[in-house]
Symmetry: D2
């Protein structure tokens, strides 16, 4: 068994459990303080939220409907509920967070829609798997869930990236069959930072209809947004957001976080830093330890149970990530963040060397 | 028609629209900054959230299960979903927020349970109305929703207070019939500040099984908690919280707000101040203007449409609150908060005098 | 207390509990036997169901989409689920079956929509009550359920009839506001028989978008149909029917019942007979005993508890129907059916005379 | 592509599409006629339904709670809704009807629970697959659906049978982990007829908590029942049945069908006949044509597209059943029923010989 990391002790540079173990960027805390100077109407009728709508339209170079949200779980589930009827099917990768880790939030928000898991190497959906699953579903046959949507995760759950051509291909299949396309962008910032592709190219220009834009992992406190490029999907969104308890009473404080992060490209700087720290880690390790190409800020390492225990004995924290199928080795995930420092990475590299001896 | 207040312009001392139009207490912002110094495990496995559990048990003098939440809507709806099956009925006042203003959140979270509105003067449920509704429902008859819960709002939507004896009486009826009892405590702090009754007396000692403890309106950014006194109701709560997208990724930042507010009684000080500002307002007005006894931080005034327009012309902001039944006069609600200053109230009093001439 | 009728003993001519206490017309049983001679594809792909679609289009003089259903509860709830989103509001009379007696089926099928009860004398919705409720709801405001539909019951739960002009008026208000209109026609046959109005006039010509056409109470075994006149509402219906477990495996046996009942106007003959029996009853009684005009096959009588007991002592069966508001007298409902015989009614009249002495 | 059988034309001895393409046993029609002689209270308060409860307790040799239902879809989905919370997981075979063919009824009735598909040869769940899936799910971790139930299909979707030891083993694993166990018995009669095992042994003695007992395919019109052996699961069942629109208005006509079928072992005779007809078919064919052991009344044949076309050209009807994985041959399903005659089977055998030349 590959043991999870116990305890909730406050750590710091030795904590590689996840990027949401880091706190917030000080810029975000400052933004909260600045947004605190006056009164503002509640429930989103405030100038920050209005400004956010305009700023995101600029950033994405497209008309958008923006819903500031508290969590990625809710952003994803709400997006899907605007795409799929209760008898609808949404296709996603078998490792997608919406499929594995949200305790039924998509089923809850949609009123019972079904997620259909697709295969594909390194976390990316294989178009053939998608085509096959579509063919099997039986569109129009009332005995079966009806195809309604496709959800892509960029960057993927495996810390890898979709190339634009793959997104375009998958979205093209979906649109051809009358489905709409969602992107789970919990780490979209890292993807953009890694590829130098614009947000517009990465999303609506590649066929994305609605995006969960996550900035919590990238320096926010609770800074998520559902962003509709396809306005036809947005008509019910505000009502669904309200009944889900996701309309912030003092919404300005969510909007202000996102505004602070997108101002002057801070979100890109933070994500670039996180990516660089992961790159620094992989460069310090031998290739055979690394199970997946580390394209963003996640590094997946094969470690013996012993090695993992020794690392933990030294204070390092990280999560197990299943078992490598071929040789049964345990895989562990190490995540860097905007707050990870180079010396933290270097210390981890040295500890890994020691532990493997 | 009694026109609503338009616009989302940032205001300040002239804004009496609601206590959630105020920002947060600077102490809360500081607490966020302090909670930002290190890493901490995500999703609630952090020391702030553990500490919160312990501190709230002390504050309420009872074993508690605490779920930090983002909004009052979600706190209320989640509470009800732990009390009522999808075919269950929950009784509440006809003016209760859960009945009038949450776009179906209770129905959503419970999977279709029904809210049954009860009558009662000044926002308080009349026990006879409750008994009558219970008798009409037809317990055990499969054609009907089955009685499951009672929800009380303390302080009420009308800015009034339940006496403990009334809470005890209503909860007693509920328990006699096998129902459990929820308290919507969006302004519980104001109620406690006004009555000098302890939180324990106000809640579990009076028969409350589960509480939505709201601190957002009282100086938080997004600082709500579901607090179970009846542990039997809590068994499903964490799963329901997760699937509702209400488990904060960086939960420490919600917990830290609440911790900051309950430390050294800050929550009581803030609520006392808000109450005092409302009292100052009523003391500056003639009795016939006031439609309801202002027991907490809300003042309901009868104003002619003209008077209201003139006040707004001077920059004051406030919400219409329906029409007084007997004479058809418009009623407007003025809410004070922890941030309202005495000079703001005095200016409003003077403006009201001018406007009514 | 007005005691209900106990026991489930088989009765016959003395049973006035409800029209669904009668069995089926022998013609319906014969039709089942005839439909049993060969194989037929399952789940509605059979010639009976195809024929039913055509025959009902003729009968209603309109293009229709027909879904044979097992129960009126399901027919109503399915209809509403095609009209209202989960955050939608459907207006209906406060005594409507969907509001009082279906254990949350509408809330279940719609995923949480809200039924808003309207007032109106003798079971008919008052247009002013509807207008008022619409105005109060707050269309477009995300805090509130959104107006989506209106449901009328013809004949009403009080055994009375809507005039066409009232239906047209109510449907007109609904359509003006963007709502669609449902008719619960559990006793529509009785309404048509009583008024000599055509089915077309009673339904789509008066503004009805979708109808629950009930024939179970009128001689069927389980013979209900959802009939869409507004085809835009029908697009999701078959999928919703399937997931509700309402697509009959051997659907021909539901369709065959309805076909038998509509052939040669049998449904009208049966309903006319039921109505005539109720008329015979009222004509044999003094006017002051009757609380509501008996316009179809239901008679509501004021009886003392003693009188009711004596009647039951003689073997008569009937249900209590609440308490008359002004004088507190118990009201009892007597329902006649296609199977009620004149001598049964005469015996009841005589027994009532004896019992009141 | 393996083409489906088109058209809904009435057929007879050449129809092998499914056992629900057959009509009802004449005994069932007679039972309806006999149940039609008097009035009876509606909604299940009738003597037939009371009698059914007693007779099924005798037949199953156990205390039971019985809910007469209209369809197998609803019986299955209702059963699951009494086992699993909305965040619960129910394990089933990947080919289970509840997983593949009910358009989300289980998700609908449970409020969003998840079906987790398990592998296993010939339609039977492999206990290792179940153990593995249980281990992966993460009991107690709020990010994941929580294990709640196991659903077995006896006979399986592949026309095969579970041995009692396998049922006991699977149910044992489930109970060990706190799950309850459902049996989808759409063709349980065929399984019992084939194995000579008692209903008691096949169900509660092997660990089944709740059963969908299907008699529609075995001679009924709409004759299904949910049967609870574990009374703790039954407490909410009647309310869930009502809100699903599955409480028959004239329930006696559902109950009377089941009573007629279980009287004097008719259900076993009908199922035995259907099984014998399938056996006759397989005995007339060469072994290599048959893809699965035909243990009940379903025969799965490998046919070339040409052969299938020729058979259809002669008037035979049957459904395609996917593609045989190894050689890509089309598989077709032939189902016999209580109404299939020996000469029909012989004619099919001869036609198959002709078609294959």
């Amino acid at each position: 068994m590959c043991q999870p990391d116990g305890g909730g002790l406050l750590s710091t540079g030795q904590d590689f459990t996840s990027d949401n173990a880091s706190g917030a960027s000080p810029v975000v805390i400052d933004a909260l303080a600045r947004a605190n100077s006056r009164t503002a109407l509640a429930y989103g009728d405030d100038p920050y939220t209005a400004d956010l709508q305009a700023k995101l339209a600029d950033l994405f170079e497209h008309e958008v409907t923006v819903l500031p949200m508290f969590t990625g779980t809710a952003a994803n589930a709400l997006s899907l509920s605007c795409m799929a009827p209760p008898f609808g099917a949404v296709f996603c990768h078998a490792e997608a967070h919406i499929f594995t880790s949200e305790c039924g939030a998509p089923e809850f928000f949609t009123g019972g829609a079904k997620l259909i898991p697709l295969e594909g190497a390194e976390g990316r959906i294989d178009p053939h798997s998608f085509e096959r699953a579509l063919a099997e579903l039986g569109k129009g046959v009332a005995h079966h869930f009806q195809p309604a949507g496709l959800s892509l995760t960029q960057a993927t759950e495996s810390g890898t990236l979709y190339e634009l051509s793959r997104i375009t291909e998958l979205a093209g299949i979906a649109h051809r069959e009358g489905l709409t396309v969602h992107m789970d962008g919990a780490r979209l910032a890292n993807a953009v930072a890694a590829t130098k592709v614009s947000l517009a190219e990465m999303t609506w220009q590649s066929g994305i209809d609605v995006l969960s834009f996550g900035l919590t992992k990238n320096g926010g406190i609770c800074a998520e947004a559902v962003i509709f490029f396809n306005q036809a999907l947005a008509s019910e969104a505000r009502f669904r957001q309200k009944r889900a308890g996701q309309v912030a009473s003092k919404m300005r404080f969510v909007s202000a976080q996102i505004l602070a992060l997108i101002e002057d490209g801070l979100w890109l700087d933070l994500a670039s830093h996180a990516n660089a720290m992961a790159r620094r880690l992989t460069e310090g390790l031998s290739a055979e330890q690394i199970t997946l190409p580390a394209q963003i800020n996640e590094v997946f390492l094969k470690l013996t149970r012993d090695t993992a225990d020794r690392l933990r004995g030294e204070g390092f924290m990280f999560h197990p990530w299943g078992v490598e199928p071929k040789h049964g080795e345990c895989i562990y995930r190490f995540v860097t963040s905007f707050a990870t420092e180079a010396r933290d990475v270097d210390a981890l590299i040295r500890a890994l060397e020691r532990a493997r001896r």
